[in-house]
Symmetry: C2
Subunit: 469 residues, 2 copies
Amino acid sequence: MILFLVIFLHNIDFNKIVEVIKPTEEEEKKVKSLSDKLINTVNDIARKNDINAEAVLVGSVAKGTWLHGKGDIDIFIKFPLDIDEAHLKEYGLFLGFESAKSMEGKYELRYASHPYVTGLIDGFEIDFVPCYPIKSADELKSAVDRTILHTEYIKKNLRQEQKNEVLLLKRFMESVHTYSAEFKVGGFSGYLCELLIIYYGSFLEVLKAAADEWKPNQIIDPRDYGTGSDFTWPMVVIDPTDKKRNVAAALTLQKISEFIIASRNFLDNPKEDYFFEKQLKINLNIIKEEFKRRDTKTFLISFKPPEIPADSLYPQIKKTENSLGEVLKREDFSVFNTGSWTDESEKVIILLELDVWKLPEVKKHYGPYIWSKEHQNRFLSKYGVKAYIEGDRWVAEIIREYKDAELFIEDILSQNKIGLLRFGKNIKNEILKEHYIVDIFEFLESDKCSEDIKRFFYEYLHKNVYLSR
Amino acid sequence: MILFLVIFLHNIDFNKIVEVIKPTEEEEKKVKSLSDKLINTVNDIARKNDINAEAVLVGSVAKGTWLHGKGDIDIFIKFPLDIDEAHLKEYGLFLGFESAKSMEGKYELRYASHPYVTGLIDGFEIDFVPCYPIKSADELKSAVDRTILHTEYIKKNLRQEQKNEVLLLKRFMESVHTYSAEFKVGGFSGYLCELLIIYYGSFLEVLKAAADEWKPNQIIDPRDYGTGSDFTWPMVVIDPTDKKRNVAAALTLQKISEFIIASRNFLDNPKEDYFFEKQLKINLNIIKEEFKRRDTKTFLISFKPPEIPADSLYPQIKKTENSLGEVLKREDFSVFNTGSWTDESEKVIILLELDVWKLPEVKKHYGPYIWSKEHQNRFLSKYGVKAYIEGDRWVAEIIREYKDAELFIEDILSQNKIGLLRFGKNIKNEILKEHYIVDIFEFLESDKCSEDIKRFFYEYLHKNVYLSR
C-alpha cells in the first residue's frame, strides 16, 4: 500500500504546491514587522497609561502555519490573573482601540465569548483580544484564554518541517470545503489541523488515516488522557492542553464524512487541483433545467437576516430550516431536501424541496387504544361518528387542515402560527416583519438571482461537487 | 354499578328476545326427531355392513344452544381408536354417503382438517364426520376429535338456564358482526360463547367484563391450568378440555375490539335492536358522493376467485390485499386504507385507497454508511455521479421507476413482476389469467355494482356501523 502510494503520488510535486500556498518572503516579512510593531504599540500605550498588561502574538502567524494571503494577526493582551473581568474588558478594549487608532487603521468592537477589538491595518485583519495568561486549563477564566495554551503547545510540538504539512492539509481542506470551525461550515479548525499533523506525522498520513482507519465516533487522544469516552460526538480529539475538552466539538458528522471521501478521492487519483478552489460552470438555464427534471416542488422563503454575529446567525437559520421541514412532515407532506443560504447582511433564503405537496381532503387521526373507556370517551366526544377501530386503536377520518404545502407555509409564518416553529427569536422577528415565499422557477426568472445565490442552488443540486477533482 | 345497570336495562325484556331467537317448539321437535332418525340410519347401515362404528349427535343441537333457523345437525361417527386413519375415512365417508342417500337428501364431499360428507335433508344442513371417540386431548388423532370433548364438556357444565344466555350472546355477536370463527369473520366461535357464559355466568356479565375489564392479551383460564402465558395472542381462552389449546386462536384483535365497543354501546344505551341485523340504507349516489368528498384515489382490482374452500380463500385474499398495500408503500405511495370482498364464486374485489398516488421523477436511494470503503465503492460503481453524503451515509438521487400508482399496480400484476407480491398460488394464477383495474367512480357508474358490492363499499366507508344501534 505504501509502495503503491509513493509510486502513484509521483505525479504530485508537493514542494511546488507548498511554494504556491505558503506566504511569500515579502509577505512574511511584512506580517512579522507589522506584528512586532503592533505588540510594541500596545505595550507602549499600556506603559504610558499605567496599565499592567502585555501583548503577545498568538494564532497561525505566531505558529508559522498561516497560508498565503491569510496572515490575520491575533494580538492577545495579557492581564494579571487577579484583575477582575470588568476591568480586563475595559482596559483591554481601550488598548485595542488606541493601538488601532495610532496605527491609522479602521476598527470596530466585536463579540465572541467576550468582546474584542478588530481592525484593518495595512490590509491585514488584526484582532486585539484581552485575556488572562493562564499556565494550564485549570486556571481558565474565559474561552479565549485557551488560545495562549494552544499557541504554546503547537510552537513546542510541531516540528519545523511539519509546518508545510499543516499548510497542505489546511489548503486541501479549504478547497474541498471542510475547513473552518465557524458554524457556517462546521469543519476542521486550524488548531485541529495542526494536532492531526503532529499525531499522524504528515499530510499524507492524515489523509490515509481518514480514508482507511477512521471509524464512527473516532477518538484521537494525543496525550493518552483516556477521557475520550466521556464525549459523545461524531469525532473526539482530546485537547493536549485540556483533557476535558474535545477540539473537534464544532465539527459536524457531515464534514467528517466529506473529508473522509475527499481523502479517498485524492489518494485514489491525486491531482494538484485538490489544492485549489474548484471552478464551477454555473449556468442559470442548467439550474432551471435540473429543477424541472426533478419534478418536485421547491419553495424559497426569503427574509432579512437579524443583526447578530455570523456564528449565531447560521445555527439559527439551520434551526429554522429544520423546523420548517419537521412541521411540513407533521402535516403529512413529504420533504425531499432542504437548504439555506445567507449573505449575512441583506438576505436569508431557506429552500424547501417537497416530493409530496398536495394531499386529499380526508386524513386519519389516530386516537387512544380501545382498552381505556375513559380515553375512548374523550376521543369520541370530539370525533364522534367519524371514528372507527383499527386493530385495537381508535382512529377518526377528519378533514385535513392543509391540503396544499404552500398555503401551509404561508400560514405557519404568520403571527398566529409561527409559535409552532422552533427557532431563535431574532429570526422570528425578521420573518414577522417581512418575508417572501416564492416558487423556485419564479425566483430564477426574477432579477433577484445573484451569482452567489446561483452558486447556492448549484451546490444544492450537486452536493458532493467539491469532494473530487 | 349493578343497581344502575338493573334499572337502566329495565326497558329491555330479555325473555321476549329469547322467545324470538330460540327455536320454535315445532322446530325443536323436528330437529330432534331428524337427529334421532339420522343416528339410527347410520348405526343400521354400519351394522348391516359389519362396520364397527357408532353415530353420536354433537355441536349446538346436541348442546341445546342453537338459534332459531340455525339447526344444523352434526353427526359424528365414532370408530375404534385402533383403526387406522385410511380406513376411518373410507368407512366414515361410505356411511355418510349411504345414510344421506337412504334419507333422499343431496350430499357432497368436503374437506376441513379431514374429509366429511355434508348433505341437505328435509331443509337442514347435515354433516357426517368420521372421528375417534377420545376421552382426553392427549389421545387426539385429528382436530375434529375435539368436538366430542367440547360437546361433552358443555353438556356437563352449562346449566339449563344458561342456555338462553348463550342464545342472547350468540345473537348479539351475530348482529354486531363479531360472531363466527370462520376466516371470513375472524370472530367468536359458538364454543367460545358457551365458555364465556359458563365463566362469567350470564349474557350481561360477559358484556360487562368485555366493556370494563378485558385487557390487551386478556387471559381466561376456566380450569386454572396456568398455561395462558404460553400463548401470544390478542386473547387467550384456555380450552377446559385441553390446556395446550387457545379456544380464541381464530379471533382477531379487530373483532375483540369491536365486541368490546359494541358491549359498551349496548350497556350505555340498551336496545332490543342489538339482537337483530341492522338495516342499512345504501344508496349508490351517497357512496359516490362520499368517495368524492374524501378526495383520495381509489382503485379496484377484480378477478375470479380460485376454487378453494372459503377458509382458504379469505386469508389468501387478505394476504394479497396487504401485500399490495405494502408494495405500494415501498414505492413511496401512501395507502390510506384497503379492503376486500368476494362472493366466493364469481368475483373478488380488492380496494386500494391512496392519499398519495403521484410522485415526482427524482427519488432518494439510501446506500451504505461511508465508513466502509468497500461498501462505498460497490454503491458508487452503480450510482456514481448521482451520489452524495447525508450525515455519514451515502444517498443517490435516482430516477423513480413508478411515478403513478395505477401504472405500478398494472405492472406488479403482470407475469414478470407478480413474484414481488406475497400471496397464495391459487390467487396468483387467477390474477394472471384475467383481472381488471378500475377507478372506483368508473366502477360505480358501471352495471357491475351489485347490491352486495354496494354493501361492501358502504361498510368500507362506515367501518363501525354495526357496533351501535
